[in-house]
Symmetry: C2
Subunit: 149 residues, 2 copies
DNA sequence: CGTCTAATTGAAAATGGATTTCAATTTAAA
DNA sequence: TTTAAATTGAAATCCATTTTCAATTAGACG
């Protein structure tokens, strides 16, 4: 129920974006958004493209790529880079920000949020005369499961 | 004086690395290391290649690329990615770690270190069952100079 | 409804940094 | 020296991303 409401909100946000930008609502864009919301987070373009192909073999890679960029542009998705050379996308949880723990053994990605770190970042930036627009914090290590084998 | 001593230490570290790995000390590797230490930090392969070309037009891009990777492998340099799609390298300051503030307007990169943040990172990772191997913290914003125009 | 124009699509090509190939050269051990 | 292995550099390849372009489609307007 919560998820469905969120998805509806996200879909509306995308529709509004298309309208205000003079862009068109297409079957492909709807299908891609549906699958993007259904799939888990942190997918690469390739990931999403392959998932889509199963039910929609006609959708091209370029369209998936362009649509993901539209999602990011309109704020319903965020692009991430975890150092494996390919961009990943995840749905934006409204205005909530989070950072990532990445297991270098199994690839698992855990999200976290720590207001104390965020606060210190602001302080450090201020001390150097910077205003922060965005940041990126990734902790690479080994997860519990991978240490137990 | 300080710099010269540090450079000597770095060069020795590289020489030792080559020896222990059964690799060879070559004229190109010496020239590339000299120029790498002379040039400022956060250079891309292209940056270093272009600098080298001025005095050593015979050195190839592939050699610069391979040599920078060797530097990173032996611990005298670290590879960084600041989101512009190309790898950058900087000399390792012994075992001191630092993070980066990046001005999105002029591209300036400021280094900082905050033990409180590092400590909190460990705490957060521990709370999720992770041990940290390395991390990456980049603050993107606007520097003082760029805000004053 | 059609008509029309601009946006969209998808296959293929282009891009660009990173990496590899390979024949010629160089290092350094024997 | 001689010799085997490592290195070099130009060119080729890789691979994710981005662009091109002709065909198709959305949707505004009458
Ligand atoms: Mn996430
Ligand atoms: Mn640095
Ligand atoms: Zn793991
Ligand atoms: Zn600036």
């Amino acid at each position: 129920m919560r998820k469905i409401l969120t998805n509806t909100k996200t879909k509306n946000q995308f529709k509004d974006f298309l309208l205000t930008q003079g862009l068109k609502s297409t079957r492909q864009r709807e299908i891609i958004l549906d699958e993007f919301l259904r799939a888990g987070s942190h997918l690469s373009t390739e990931d999403l493209y392959l998932r889509l192909r199963k039910g929609n073999p006609h959708i091209g890679y370029a369209t998936v790529h362009r649509t993901l960029k539209l999602f990011a542009e309109c704020g319903i998705a965020e692009q991430r880079h975890f150092g494996d050379g390919q961009a990943r996308y995840e749905a934006s949880d409204c205005d909530e920000h989070h950072d990532h723990l990445i297991c270098v053994v199994c690839g698992k990605i855990v999200e976290f949020e720590d207001p104390r770190i965020e606060e210190l970042q602001l302080e450090v930036a201020g001390a150097h005369g910077f205003t922060i627009e965005r940041h990126r914090l990734e902790l690479y290590g080994c997860c519990l499961e991978c240490r137990q084998v």
